[in-house]
């Protein structure tokens, strides 16, 4: 018998608590396996207009993880709602999360309006934590006043769908930022995005990433993300989606014990495209 791993989140049923994290699973298409086994898919972060992203190299290998400085390369919100979401909907019946990036409260609001109107999108995840853009992103997400402004603007436009805010871990008090989001009407929080890091090439003495810094993800950050999930879920009354270094069914269980209602899998999919499937299978064997 197939074990029931389903969960309820914002009134939606997820087949299991595993969600492919934004930026690590493209737009959910082109894989050589059935993605329907995955509880939710968070699409690549999208802005109002298409963006080319940062110069290469924008990825670096690290012990137990990786750095990326993609810098929100994306085709823009119109292509997302008109092409990417319908294409995914042809093959996927699970929960689809649109990840919305931006550089101003107005831009977030514009993208949220379009995403809120899109039939194929179930949840809107506000990315106020991209570490790879020099304005907006984490700059907004690490400032209490700016965070409040962005969430307020988004909340006004997102009327039909749950609004989740993806927090930056690169802050002094992540729980305080979480509480601000909750106060401004967020339905949930994704905790958290990547940690700002860098590598230097020993041969040249120069940073490996063309952007100097990048977001660090992978198994190495799991205890850091777990701590953040614990802090935020104990400080806030809205559901927390854990994210950071999850690579096994055990990690999922641990994050849920820390207070997460669902768990995102990110960097693990970069090493192994089937990581979510493997983790769900592990979970099925573990869950009591």
């Amino acid at each position: 018998m197939v074990k029931d791993l389903s969960i309820q989140l914002f009134g939606l049923t997820l087949r299991n608590p595993v969600i492919a994290a934004s930026g690590t699973f493209g737009f959910g298409t082109g894989f050589d396996f059935d993605v329907n086994a995955i509880g939710g898919i968070a699409l690549k972060g999208t802005t109002a207009e298409a963006r080319p992203g940062n110069p290469c190299p924008r990825v670096a290998d690290c012990t137990a993880g990786m750095l990326n400085s993609v810098g929100l390369e994306n085709p823009g919100i119109e292509v997302l709602v008109r092409e990417k979401v319908p294409a995914l909907r042809e093959i996927y019946s699970g929960v689809v999360i649109a990840n919305i990036g931006g550089f101003s409260a107005e831009e977030y609001a514009f993208c949220c309006t379009r995403a809120d109107e899109s039939e194929g999108i179930d949840i809107i995840e506000l990315n106020i934590s991209c570490p790879n853009v020099h304005a907006g992103g984490a700059v907004l997400g690490s400032d209490a006043v700016a965070t409040a402004g962005v969430v307020r603007a988004a909340r006004k436009t997102v009327r039909r769908k749950p609004l989740v805010v993806k927090l930056s871990p690169n802050v002094t008090d992540i729980a305080a930022i979480g509480r601000i989001c909750e106060k401004e009407g967020a339905d949930g929080l994704t905790v958290a995005n990547t940690f700002l890091g860098m590598r230097i090439d020993l041969k040249t003495g120069k940073p490996v990433l063309a952007n100097t810094f990048g977001g660090f993800s992978g198994p190495a950050i799991f205890p850091l993300a777990l701590r953040a999930v614990w802090q935020v879920s104990h400080a806030c009354g809205i559901p927390v989606i854990g994210c950071g270094g999850v690579s096994s069914g055990k990690d999922v269980m641990e994050m849920m014990m820390a207070g997460a209602s669902a768990v995102q899998v990110g960097a693990a999919s970069i090493r192994n495209p089937r990581a979510c499937i493997t983790i769900i299978n592990e979970l099925a064997c573990m869950k009591k």
């Binding site: 050589d32 290469c56 190299p57 192994n272 495209p273």
Partner: protein, 245 residues
């Protein structure tokens, strides 16, 4: 894209810091296609992309140069050990673009992905000139293999220790071989010069640091006249006139 476990049959040094890795697939008749594979190594988070030098049902030959910690670890692996590969990645060179006479220009390990192309062109009865550039005589790879398919194979070394001395662009200037379509793979600086010299009727295989290798992380974007493209999935082979160097 397909993940497949392979067993190492051979991992042998064939030139200075260059190794030939011959692998047997778990599924005997599996042949991945594509331009490259992305290979997982224990102890390293990101996979390593390596271009396919030769493939047959159930069998894969890759060449790699020891250039960092990952390839250093790969060098130490022995026959019988197992590797997990993400296979069938990238668009390969398009042999059909050549009508009668092809020019293949390789630099260093860039010779590797040109080899299956050379075989395809030879099988299609196309005439060819192959120009392969290396730093020195001890860096030369695949010379005999190319020569067996294409008698007009020229070797160029920067230090003059084998073949013609100089850069491939010097040799191309001197030879001015006839061709209706060219194909190039090697260091970016070489390909850029080759494309500038030979014009728009060709294809080049780009290289970039990669994350997933399969088009879903957007870590390896390159610039083209049509906007940013994923090196791993939209390429790595691009038309020369579309590349923004």
């Amino acid at each position: 894209m397909k993940t497949m476990d392979y067993t190492i049959l051979e991992n042998r040094c064939i030139a200075r810091q260059v190794f030939r890795l011959v692998l047997a697939a778990d599924t005997a008749d599996f042949e991945p296609g594509g331009e490259f594979v992305n290979l997982a190594l224990d102890g390293f988070f990101l996979r390593r992309p390596l271009s396919v030098c030769d493939s047959a049902p159930g069998r894969l030959t890759l060449l790699y140069k020891v250039a960092g910690e990952g390839t250093e670890a790969l060098r130490g692996m022995t026959p019988g050990m197992r590797l997990n590969l993400l296979t069938g990645l990238g668009k390969a060179f398009d042999a059909s673009r050549c009508e009668r006479r092809a020019l293949l220009v390789g630099g260093g390990l860039g010779a590797a992905p040109l080899y299956p192309l050379c075989r395809e062109l030879a099988a299609a009865g196309k005439e060819m000139t192959v120009v392969l550039g290396f730093g020195s005589a001890e860096d030369i790879v695949l010379e005999n293999e190319f020569r067996a398919l294409c008698p007009d194979t020229r070797i160029v070394t920067m230090d003059g220790s084998a073949g013609t001395a100089g850069l491939v662009t010097d040799a191309l200037k001197e030879l001015s071989p006839a061709f209706d379509f060219y194909y190039t793979c090697g260091p970016a600086v070489m390909m850029r010069a080759v494309c500038a010299q030979l014009g728009t009727n060709g294809q080049a295989s780009l290289e970039e640091r990669m994350g997933c290798g399969a088009g879903y992380c957007w870590c390896c974007t390159c610039k083209t006249t049509g906007g940013p493209r994923r090196t791993c999935t939209d390429g790595p082979v691009f038309d020369a006139d579309k590349i923004v160097w």
